[in-house]
Amino acid sequence: MLRYVIHRMLIMIPTLLVISALVFTIIELPPGDYLESYVAELQSMGETVDEQQIAFLREQYGFGAPAIERYFQWLTGMLQGDFGYSFEYRLPVSEVVGDRLFLTVLVSIATILFTWLIAFPIGIYSATHQYSWGDYGLTFIGLLGLATPNFLLALILLYFANVVWGTSIGGLMDPQYLDQPWSVNKALSVLEHLWIPVVVIGTSGTAGMIRSLRANLLDELQKQYVVTAKAKGLPRNRALIKYPLRSSLNFFVADIGNLLPRVISGAELVAVVMSLPTTGPILISALQSQDMYLAGSFLMFLATLTVIGVLISDLLLAWLDPRIRLSGGSSA
């Protein structure tokens, strides 16, 4: 097990390196450099330009140096906790990010739990009642969730939540709790607001999950041992829960790898519509104003988050299913 864990951790390093190279390429794509447009913008607004600050930033981020050199500077900076400087906020990136990243993680985890809670019973029902009306109906609803653009669903749910329950629009908590220390009431308010993004982001993942759980369980249910168990008079539920369900559980954990990038993608989109205080809105505005260090760091954070999530799911899986850890070392 330990060997597998170490092996799996080591694989993360080249993965993150490639991702960082990709992100850096994206940061570099727009023509001109940030300081030029930054200075131009300041001058156009009639503000004075702090030559010293500009010179300092130019020095700090090595503008004018070849791209490769800047890439390594950016990389080593990140390793030391310096994620660059946001020109829009005039703050170090790490301060802008703050607990937005935490809220992104919160929303993502809640979404995954929601997806499981919904997909699990429906998947089992669909597999045990194959080709019934219930199976068709639930599959269709799942597909509908997949086909509806997240952002629009968010908008509509938000409207109805406001009309029916009087939930305040936008954000993850009622306005009076903003900038307040965490308290029970604040947490409750967050819960009250959290369900909409969670439901909205969850719908798209749920359909895929239901379908694969159904397919998996159907395969398992047709195997000899289930037939034998039934023939020997095992009650229906026991014949379902004891082994077939267990083995399709593995796949649930394994699917985090597929689910997580989708959840984070969805979270970003929905966050913009609902103006959630997560990373989404800032990422968009950073991209629109070409505040590329901020955007790049966000992309890097999100990717790292995903990679770590996948790592956790792999480790869980290896713990659940010894076959994987035996074969994993050589093939992965």
């Binding site: 997949l146 519509v273 999100l302």
Partner: protein, 395 residues
């Protein structure tokens, strides 16, 4: 000695590829077959696939629906009652008008009532009411709003329009008084073509990259596998957003259109490439491949004649299932204002108008462009399901 001679000489070592001229005897044992059996056993692979496909009712209906929509985008100008950009300054945010048949108990065919406009002076809300004293008949194959067919041929023939003096806003109008229905019909052209072109791009990328991985194997395969894993572990939408934001503002709308298509395709090929690779690897080991090799067939012939038909149907199914992702991606990007820009009109650009909650509350018809999005995505999913089930007719 030229290059081709060298190859020819090297090729002399191998056997001449043998192809029998005799017609293929499909029933060598000569056992008598019933007509139905004969029909079934002698059917070609494609025929079997077609039969199996038609058994999936939903897939057939979806296929027909998609065929019709794609045909419709060819003649969008003719189908839409108004031109894409024609504004009606006196009719801003008009709710959908209802088509009626009967007026005052007498049947007069399809018509709409006139609209009466009043400004609520308290909250400055525009209020439109039906004016039942005015009747405007709906006509078919009539001349009204002039347009340029595909930007080239001038015409003013429409499938249906309303009598002079009346308005026909079946799905209401937007903030500039433009007909939402017409804009949805025009938007289909962009949204659907992006789905198709994007998928074609990602399909070719997948064929080449997956093919290289599957054909060469070894270290190349390993590297490509890792690259695919990395790309798949990256949250797609933020990546799309970042790349879309990088497109220069100075580009023409057409260039932006292609840029967005390329961006969408660039991260969509991974799943398909995996399918190509694994299919190539598994089919390579089949006996008929070995047989072809022993009979002296060259790699091109083995790949083109024996391998490709074997997995093309699977690939088409996967490609069909990946169209929705591209259409949704475009919609999301345009909705956020990072994708296509006016005057290019796609469903996402239309939904961009419905970005805040007051629209849902006051002008709910502006979110109607989502209906075709949902329908098309569902249809592609069902169609893909049907093709996937039919892909292996011998199973």
């Amino acid at each position: 000695m030229s290059g081709t001679d060298k190859i020819r000489q090297a090729g002399n070592d191998r056997l001449e590829h043998f192809v029998s001229d005799e017609p293929f005897d499909r029933n060598p044992l000569g056992a008598p077959l019933t007509p139905e059996q004969e029909k079934f056993y002698l059917a070609s692979q494609w025929k079997l696939m077609w039969w199996k496909f038609t058994r999936h009712r939903l897939a057939v209906i979806s296929g027909l629906f998609l065929l019709l929509t794609y045909l419709a985008i060819l003649i969008a100008e003719f189908l839409a009652p108004y031109e894409l950009h024609s504004r009606h300054p006196d009719f801003i945010y008009v709710p959908p008008q209802q088509v009626r048949m009967i007026h005052d108990g007498s049947f007069i065919g399809p018509f709409v009532y006139g609209t009466h406009y009043r400004l609520n002076m308290e909250n400055l809300q525009r209020i439109y009411t039906e004016d039942t004293s005015q009747i405007y008949r709906i006509r078919f194959f009539c001349r009204s709003d002039p347009y340029k067919f595909w930007g080239a041929m001038e015409s003013d023939l429409h499938l249906f329009c309303v009598e002079d003096g009346g308005t026909l806003f079946l799905l209401g109008t937007d903030r500039l008084g433009r007909d939402v229905l017409s804009r949805i019909i025009y938007g289909a052209r962009i949204s659907l073509s992006i789905g198709l072109i994007g998928t074609m791009l990602s399909f070719s990328l997948a064929l080449v990259i997956g093919g290289i991985a599957g054909y060469f194997g070894g270290i190349v395969d390993l590297l490509i596998q890792r690259l695919i894993e990395i790309l798949q572990s990256f949250p797609q939408i933020p990546l799309w957003m970042a790349l879309a934001a990088v497109l220069p503002v100075t580009w023409s709308p057409l260039l932006i259109y292609f840029g967005i298509t390329v961006i969408l395709a660039m991260f969509d090929w991974t799943g398909l490439a995996r399918a190509v690779r694994s299919k190539l690897l598994s089919l390579r080991e089949e006996e008929y491949c070995l047989a072809a090799q022993l009979m002296g067939a060259k790699p091109q012939r083995i790949i083109g004649r024996h391998l490709l038909p074997g997995f093309m149907s699977h690939l088409v199914a996967s490609a069909t299932l990946s169209v929705p992702a591209i259409i949704l991606g475009e919609t999301a990007l345009s909705f956020l204002g990072l994708g296509l820009r006016a005057p290019v009109t796609s469903w996402g650009v239309l939904l961009n108008e419905a970005q805040n909650i007051s629209v849902v509350a006051l002008y709910p018809w502006l979110i109607l462009p989502v209906v075709p999005v949902i329908l098309v995505i569902l249809a592609f999913n069902f169609l893909g399901d049907g093709i996937r089930d039919a892909a292996d007719p011998y199973a």
